[in-house]
Amino acid sequence: MQFYSLPNLIRRGLRGHRDWTPAWRKAQLRPSYDVIIVGAGGHGLATAYYLAKLHGVTNVAVLERGWLGGGNIGRNTAIVRSNYLWDASAHIYEFSLKLWESLSQELNYNVMFSQRGLLNIAHSEQELHDLARRVGANRLNGIDAELLSTEEISKRVPVLNTSPDTRYPVLGGTLQRRGGVARHDAVAWGYARAADALGVDIVENCEVTGIRTANGRVTALETTRGEIRAGTVGLVVAGNATVLASMAGIRLPILSHPLQALVTEPLKPVFDPVVMSAAVHVYVHQTDRGELVLGAGIDAPVSYDLNGNFRIIEHVLAAVCELFPIFSRVRMLRQWAGTVDVCPDASPIISGTPIKGLFMNCGWGTGGFKATPGSGWVFAHTLAHQEPHPLNEPFSLDRFTSGALIDEHGAAAVAH
């Protein structure tokens, strides 16, 4: 792996930038691996990286049906935060946030993690109480969180309409100063480059079409490029989790929905933090290039289509114009959607399955991006030891039978 640094940039620049090599190899698929990870998205690549780095498991393939980073890792709104309510979620998301803080150095790849702060605003007394409760819970878990008055919010984001005369007046809010955004594509590319350097094979255009088992153990995957043997398989395929799991006869509590986002033309910098409102369902931040990134809600019907319902866009734009009248004439550049895998309790599944050697990391629903480093870390541990890391033990598939659900609808319902 070529080390990215200023001296290296200057040295190679003086030679006309002719000797840079690709960030990762086009790996040749081998007939057998110790571990196969299905899905070269953020979580899958992070898993491969930590498997090789922390557990010395380097005979690993990451299979991808399409192209690397073409799924939800490149389709989210890039928001990172850890202000979740329950202990189990708070611990795993905060663990992730700590990894984010040194990720660029860890990967020697600039993921442009920017801790510009993250503001949740409340439009009703009830919402304010709920947010105050979450601030208390966060602080007990060592997560930075503070309550802000309407005046403090107005000072922080002057372009936000905090007048009491609006349809949904801003009554207060919470701030997580360590929250922010990262460049999502760079996260996939950085993990891919670092995993590849440790010997992981990343194979694109290789779709899994079947899962072979014998005596209750996974033995191989059937793919569009032939059969590949492996004793351990991790499925990290987000919206298509049910499709893959059903190949092994496993039923999941997951529903797939389109989740849309939009980006506007670039503007001069007008506000710093990520602003989110659960009541009117919008979350928005301004990128370093000046574009506004707007996130919407999911389409209600189950769907794998990558367009999304136009009605949802109307809804989110109405909410943005209500909160930020200054943006009412900004033009949209583009809109896209990803297929998100939503669990009934809005918490992920990072778990073994009834089939030995077959593991799932899915159900992140609308909010998986922020968890990418921590998810990869604990899933790598799970695959290497064939048992969960303490941080993902509560996120087992069994919880839907035992009833130990982790209800994060309050913290996960908006701001993906």
């Binding site: 298509n240 049910t242 499709v243 059903s246 039923r251 999941l252 509590p253 997951i254 529903l255 797939s256 209600a300 019907p301 189950v302 769907s303 794998y304 289509d305 319902n309 136009f310 009605r311 009934p344 839907f400 039978t401 035992s402």
Partner: protein, 88 residues
């Protein structure tokens, strides 16, 4: 946007309707006789099919009746609609 064919009112825009999830899994007659696994399967586990999908809709802002729609979940093409008991 979907154009949903209500069996009673004809095709209408989707904002008149409420999505009611997958069709064809009736509530168990004797829930207390089920194991925890069977009950979890009924409560939470879904086919979440990629492709042909039989699902329930309610014409909330219309006749307020429930019915069944068959739709392709990749293309969103509506393949048919029908009432309970009759095949769509």
């Amino acid at each position: 946007m979907l154009l949903i064919p209500c069996p009673w009112c004809g095709p209408r825009e989707d904002d008149e309707f409420t999505f009611g999830g997958e069709a064809d899994f009736p509530r168990p007659a004797e829930p207390e006789a089920l194991t925890d696994e069977q009950w979890a399967d009924y409560l939470f586990m879904r086919d979440n099919r990629r492709g042909r999908h039989r699902e329930q809709w309610c014409h909330t802002a219309g006749c307020r009746r429930w019915f069944i729609v068959e739709r392709d979940t990749v293309t969103n093409e509506i393949l048919g609609a029908g009432t309970y008991g009759g095949s769509p």
